[in-house]
Assembly symmetry: C2
C-alpha cells in the first residue's frame, strides 16, 4: 500500500500526537494557526470515497474527537475541516481551530491574510500546546485503532 | 431551529439539485469551479460535532455519494471536501471536483489563482451540468432523507 514518492507514506508529516494502526494524528507547525491538527490515514489512498464505509466511519470518529477536544479546550470561533490533497493525494483531514482574531479570519487558512498579530497566536490560546496535544492524544487513543 | 439572520436558513443557497428532510444539495454558481456542490444540513447547527452520530453519518453518506458521482462522471484530478463556515456558521459541506487544468490547481479554491482559462471551465467537463445535476440528484435521493 505504501507509495515511495508520497511524503505521507515516507514521513510522519508533522509533530506526532497519536498513532494507531489505521491512522495517526499530527500537529502541523503553522505559527499562524497553532491549533491545527491533521488526521492521516495510514494506507495510501487518494480519495475519501476510496475507503470502505467502516474505515470512513473510523476516520471521521477521529476527526470529530479532535474537533471536540479543540472546542472544549479553546472555545474557538469556528472549527474548519477539510480534506483536499491536491498536492499530496493521500487521505488526510485538516482540523483547525479558528478565532475571530486570527491572521486570516474569516478567510480560509489558504486564503488572504487579514491582519498581523502583535503577539504570537500560540500565546493567545487558553492552554499550552503541549497540554492540548495531550488532551487530543488521550481522546483519540480511546477510539478503535 | 431556524435562525432569522442565517442565509442558509433563509435561502436555498444555490441552484437546487436535491432536497430531503434533513439535508439538501445545491450547486454553487462558481464559473471557475463548475462542478462545485454543497450539501447543506437543514437544521441550524454551527459545527459538525454538534450533530449526533446518526446525523453525521447521514450527512457524510450524502457527501460521499456526491463525490462518487463527480468521480465517475468527470474523472477529476482530485476531490476537495471541506466544511468551514467562518462566514455562515450553519453546517454545509463543499464537494468540489478539481482538475489539474483549473484556474487554481493545485491551490485550494480559496487560494491564489494560478492561471486564466482560454475557454470556460464548464466547457471542459465531460458532460453538461444539467446532466451532472441529474446524476447527483438520482444518487442522493436513493439515500435516507
Amino acid at each position: 500500500m505504501e507509495h515511495p514518492d508520497c511524503p505521507l507514506c515516507r514521513d510522519v508529516g508533522g509533530l506526532p500526537v497519536a498513532s494507531a494502526t489505521r491512522w495517526r494524528v499530527i500537529r502541523a507547525a503553522e505559527p499562524d494557526f497553532p491549533a491545527f491538527y491533521r488526521v492521516i490515514w495510514t494506507a495510501h489512498v487518494a480519495e475519501f470515497s476510496d475507503l470502505p464505509l467502516a474505515d470512513r466511519d473510523a476516520l471521521m470518529a477521529v476527526v470529530v474527537r479532535v474537533e471536540e477536544v479543540l472546542r472544549a479546550a479553546l472555545s474557538p470561533t469556528k472549527i474548519n475541516l477539510a480534506t483536499l490533497g491536491n498536492v499530496v493525494p493521500h487521505v488526510h483531514w485538516h482540523v483547525i481551530a479558528r478565532f475571530d482574531w486570527d491572521s486570516h479570519f474569516p478567510n480560509p487558512v489558504w486564503g488572504e491574510r487579514r491582519r498581523t498579530l502583535a503577539v504570537p497566536a500560540e500565546a493567545r490560546l487558553a492552554l499550552p500546546l503541549s497540554e492540548l496535544d495531550g488532551r487530543v492524544r488521550d481522546a483519540v487513543m480511546a477510539l478503535p485503532g
